[in-house]
Symmetry: C2
């Protein structure tokens, strides 16, 4: 019986080496039928999107990441050129870096050997995934500033080593140039380069929107090169734009294969036939599992070390796209699907205990990589290799979850290469687009992050006022708050921050109300 279900429901694309097994998700056949109108709408939405409609109405933008691997589908010649021209340029640029035609400015420094990528969100996570999955044997070593943690930056600079700054190419990635974490990272790197007696600009490359703050800064500072970011590419889907491809090319990744894998998956899943469409099947499986309201978390378990960052990549793609308060009609819906996971079989020793026995609030997504390794394997016990064990653990865990009524689906690919990473990303991108249509939300904006940014800016303004207002006489948070007309808790957090960083002296009282702060 399960064999019949398996074989009947398996979606496979033999030319891609891809299959999707939904037989353990418990989806009744009638489900597709009951969802037929929504499915039809989702295909229509995607057709409009891919034809250049304003699919992100709040920001009045087209949504163009699907064109990046099929520029012939772009809605006009201008957009087509905005894909193909930078692609040719970045390939040429990477070639020139590798061959030593683009060289460090310092005399005798030789070739650029390292990359320091400064970005956050989509501008770091996509390149990190690509570097981790495909970067083995790369001609350059890559490092990342992906946060505004100064201690973290010191650590990365230490890993590079000051003696290597002269041979390190810095990629600064920010569409607007206004993302503070990235701007801060750039300013910190600039200061570090200058402390080392080096000019920053001739080591740097910008990937940014034309006319952005970063674009202007790059011109002013004499950056080596600039690559454009287009407003119809969102950060979380930018890995196949200049954002992902410039670092990938520098690492020697087969970017043509990467794009071809995505294009191939796009062709298989564009529709409008639901049957056999892996992206629609995935979206419907998510919808069925969580009742269209995200009631089940998505646990991602790739059984392959080189895909260890894929769950984190999907966490961003899925949660930022689907975690929305309003539907397209303005109703409050509080949508989203929580995503987490690392890798198998490692995670079996971390939380499969809970998956099997505990709170049934998830469905599992196994990712099987069929080939164990290049070359032969030693036997680790008579008749069995590590290759066999990895497969055994995947199959064993899948069986154990089914046995305890926990749904799972399994995606299979033959190996982790540029083509297959491209097709996996394309599969999930389209599934996210479809799912958003099924539940009628805008998957392409992120209105919810503004509130935190505004609150952070308010905190920084207040911090500056508090810093100026400190004097030699110790005062409590309430006293400072009264003087500044601000909330005492906010003031207290400013004061403790200043005290912890050498800009105030704190004398502890019994409670925060009794702590007093003075100028050091």
């Amino acid at each position: 019986m399960s064999w019949t279900d398996y074989t009947a429901s398996l979606i496979r694309y033999p030319e891609l080496g891809f299959s999707l097994d939904l037989s353990r998700m418990g989806i009744p056949e009638s489900y597709y039928e009951s969802m037929a109108p929504a499915i039809e709408r989702a295909f229509a939405d995607m057709k409009a999107l891919e034809s250049g409609a304003i699919a992100n109405p709040d920001e009045n933008r087209m949504v163009g990441h699907y064109w990046l691997r099929a520029p012939e589908l772009a809605p006009n010649e201008e957009i087509r050129a905005a894909i193909t021209e930078p692609l040719a340029e970045l390939k040429e640029f990477a070639g020139r870096v590798h061959s030593g035609n683009v060289t460090p400015p310092s005399a005798g420094a030789g070739k650029f050997e390292r990359v320091l990528l400064i970005g956050i969100g989509g501008s770091a996570l996509g390149p990190q995934l690509v570097a981790d999955a495909l970067g083995r044997g790369a001609p350059m070593v890559i490092h990342f500033f992906d946060n505004t943690d100064p201690d973290g930056m010191d650590r990365v600079l230490g890993e590079i080593g000051e003696e290597n700054f002269a041979r390190t190419l810095v990629l600064v990635i920010s569409k607007s140039g206004g993302t503070p974490e990235t701007r801060n990272g750039m300013m910190e790197a600039k200061a570090a380069w200058e402390r080392a007696g080096l000019e920053f600009g001739p080591h740097a490359v910008a990937i940014t929107g034309g006319g952005s703050k970063l674009d202007a800064f790059a011109t002013e500072q004499g950056f080596i090169a600039r690559f454009p970011m287009e407003d119809w590419v969102g950060g979380r889907t930018s890995v196949m734009s200049t954002v992902g491809l410039v670092p990938a090319a520098l690492l020697g990744v087969d970017i043509d294969g990467f794009l071809a894998g995505a294009a191939a998956m796009d062709r298989e899943t564009r529709g409008p036939e639901a049957k056999g469409n892996a992206a629609m099947a995935l979206a419907l499986a998510w919808h069925h599992a969580g009742n269209g309201r995200g009631e089940k978390d998505m646990v991602i378990l790739p059984y392959k070390d080189s895909l260890a960052l894929f769950a984190k990549y999907l966490q961003q793609l899925v949660m930022e796209s689907l975690g929305k308060r309003h539907d397209l009609d303005g109703n409050e819906v509080f949508q989203g699907i929580a995503v987490y996971g690392n890798k198998g079989s490692t995670d079996q020793h971390a939380y499969v205990q809970q998956l099997r026995d505990g709170v049934p609030n998830f469905f599992a997504t196994f990712i099987e990589v069929r080939q164990g390794r290049d070359g032969a394997s030693p036997e680790v016990e008579p008749g069995a290799t590590s290759v066999d064990f990895l497969q055994g653990f995947l199959r064993g865990t899948r069986s154990a979850l089914t046995e305890s009524g926990r749904p799972s689906l399994t995606i299979s690919i033959p190996r982790v290469d540029a083509f297959r990473l491209g097709l996996l990303i394309a599969l999930f991108e389209r599934a996210v687009s479809f799912y958003a249509s099924l539940v009628r939300i805008n998957a392409y904006h992120q209105p919810g992050v503004e509130a935190g940014k505004k609150a952070a800016a308010a905190f920084l303004k207040l911090l500056s006022e508090v810093r100026s207002s400190l004097d030699a006489a110790p005062r409590s948070a309430e006293a400072v708050a009264a003087a500044l007309g601000a909330d005492p808790e906010d003031i207290y957090h400013c004061l403790t921050h200043l005290a912890a960083n050498g800009q105030a002296v704190c004398t502890d009282g019994a409670t925060p109300k009794d702590d007093v702060f003075a100028k050091p």
Copy 2:
């Protein structure tokens, strides 16, 4: 108002530099009262546990991880010695490795410069956390085999470089020696060392239970040293045993400070007074947030790069401990709390959109590290540094979540050092123990992982039969299944695995039923 709540509810231990802010969790004052009998029981359970009761009845074991940092509390002299003696020995051993008194066997190899740690679950994740959080400037470079992925092992061996094997100390960590992933990793490393013309044993150290398979193997192979693992230490709480301390000492981590931090938190939270007890407060906050049934996921957001693995560490500690089917009376309860997270502010660009606007199925745990960095910071804009921005983003995100009704709690420490990492781990360990008592489950076993292991073993056995049964005539999965009296789907997975790894030839049909397989 919020200031009054904040200051009244803040738990702080000034001597530890620690505070816990639960003011944004929305816990009514009456909650402690209503939970009083359960709280009392939890303290009594912990007292019994720390006194040496069989706190893990299913496995008939004591639960002794709290003694590791307070051997004076161990229930008898034998256990006390089992803590203090290996501790002294491992310190001495690390000193001898660093000073070159314990040396590689090859003539002229010099000192051991690298560590390859082979372990999985608690035997890898604790050491990984410690290395990542505290390992900067370490005297040795550490690498990990934490899975049975052969391709992943090849990658790690490539990073070490065959020319460095002779100066690499291999730590093999497995209580029973029977964990297949670890055993496989060891056999793969042994094969790699031998391919490089090196004897494996004189490069290796075992951390294992006395009389285990690994213990016997270590003797037979002439390992350099063996350190004991005790049966009253569970894997997920083993970081303060030899499992965590041997690698920590090799990395030059201040292990006395690490243990002292944990001991200090233990003293503050041992009870039996609930008021001001951070571990009990945390357990009650989890209980309140999820209605004692894990209805809310725990999102962990440390605003500090060096704590990026802490969420993963807690994922294991919490989910493996609390994800249980039965309570202590044998009722089906399907307990657990799902845990995920990486680091702030990076994750603000990944999924704070969903946290703020989307499905309200979580509570956030902010971890604030008050000191930004050692030394001065450049201004990244007038009057502000990266240090200020990191704090601003934490405060801004906390405010934005509160504003949209999403609960959060905030833990603060002055910096990430051995003492503070120790106290953070101790805090969560005790909170997990308390929570388990509140919901009446055994936090110390993992019965749910057996099913997957058994299914994996069955798969491997079947795989071996299928491999032997292949011949030149192509057959379908159904035909092979009929011959072996097995399930066709299981057989199909065996066959595709063999085909993907050069041990069978597959000719694709229209569906899996039509695929045929032969001996190559």
